[in-house]
């Protein structure tokens, strides 16, 4: 099942320019191992049984999953600075949660507003983002969807965003602070 699933960000144009820290086969092994470890941690949470038999079944299942999709989960490019990215991601999540909470209060006040029709003013806005990697585009797009009155309509692979906003106030903050945060997170 795993013939040649190259993902777009594995073979970026600038890969030839930078000198890789690890060789390709080593990277393959590392990405397999990381996938296996993530899967095994998930398995232990799911299973909740720590006896020998169930852990053995877990090893087999995780090996199958890692074999099927190690190139899907962990991109082989940029595997060197993975721990730093994850640490930054953990720092990003609480900020995002706070923003999501504010967004929800805003939408909530709209939903219970008796003069709803007069308050909202839906429209489409477009802007160009400086982010380039698919992963950072993905994080940014989903963060936009979760935060104040905005839903991502379309993202092109070059970073052009089309966003549906519910009222004037919501569209003001785009791209703004969140883009900075995501750029810093992914090291762009």
């Amino acid at each position: 099942m795993n013939v040649d699933n190259l993902s777009p960000d594995e073979l970026s144009p600038d890969e030839k320019r930078q000198t890789p820290a690890f060789s390709t086969s080593l990277k393959q092994i590392i990405s397999f191992a990381i996938t296996f470890l993530i899967c095994f941690a998930t398995w232990i949470i799911l299973s909740g049984r720590l006896d020998f038999f169930h852990l053995g079944l877990g090893v087999i299942a995780c090996a199958i999953v890692a074999r099927l999709s190690s190139t899907k989960l962990i991109s082989r490019r940029g595997i060197e600075n993975l721990p730093r990215q994850w640490f930054r991601f953990v720092c990003y999540v609480p900020w995002l949660l706070y923003q999501v909470f504010l967004a929800n209060l805003h939408v909530m006040s709209l939903a219970f507003n008796p003069r709803l029709i007069e308050v909202i003013d839906p429209k489409i806005i477009r802007f160009k983002s400086k982010l380039t990697r698919p992963m950072s585009l993905f994080i940014f797009a989903n963060s936009i969807t979760l935060t104040p009155g905005t839903i991502t309509v379309f993202v092109s692979i070059t970073g052009e965003f089309t966003v549906h906003v519910i009222d004037e106030y919501s569209g003001l903050s785009l791209p703004g602070e969140m883009e900075e945060k995501v750029a810093e997170l992914m090291g762009e």
Binding site: L6, C39, S47, A61, V65, S69, K72, F138, A141, S156
Partner: protein, 276 residues
Amino acid sequence: MKRLGLIAIIIFGGLLFSITFELPDLGDASSPASTHVSPYYIEHTLEDTSVPNVVTAILADYRGYDTLFETAVIFSAGLACFFLLRIPERKAPKARFYRHLTTGLTLRIEKGGRIPEESKEFERIDSAWVPNDVIINMTCRLVVPFVQLFALYVIAHGHHSPGGGFQGGVIFGAAIILFAISNNLRSTTRRLSEKSSALLGSGGVIIYLGTGLLCILLGAGFLNYSGLSVFPGLDPVSARSYGILIVEIGVGIAVTAVMVWIYYNLASAGTQEEGL
């Protein structure tokens, strides 16, 4: 005609409702269903098979024949879909579409144009293609492995939690279908072809059947897993437990493959050219 249908539905609905009052109450200990075999299963399952989940033990052990033929029915459903829907490719399409894997750009090649070789650079995609959507692709890349892992967990833990071969197989099939939705049908069939999904489907049924036949060869009845206790380190009780696990794995493989097979045929209206 519509009113006639409504009247018929109301009459039958009323009949069903009135019959509901004749059913025994929920948890009624003296109802026919809970007086004959149920108490036996509830009392003896743990000591017979060492499986805490009574439902799994009944399905895969006490009523093994039933489940065997259920699996066969699922396989024949896939077969029926295949025979009803599958049509070979009728005519060459007007234009072919190729996606450049690095950038996600799509090439449209008219009939008679030079076609790039199927290489690591280009991948042929459906002609009713959906523009490459970064968000959906990335989400599926992240989610598919965990859905697969969850499916394997459901199959492996049928003994202790709700689940087993059928449920786990459905979730695993759904994971593959999710991949097919987020990319397209053509790239999915290149990784898991129709032929191998059919072979896997029959292979799952054969695992089940083979376990039963192995029990006969070892001197016990058909699907009586305690015959497996001749293998070292097994007593009759734990042999039944392991037998259930093997059977569940067979069912899981069969259900996964048949789900994917039916999806291939339904989503492309039998041509296996263009999917959802």
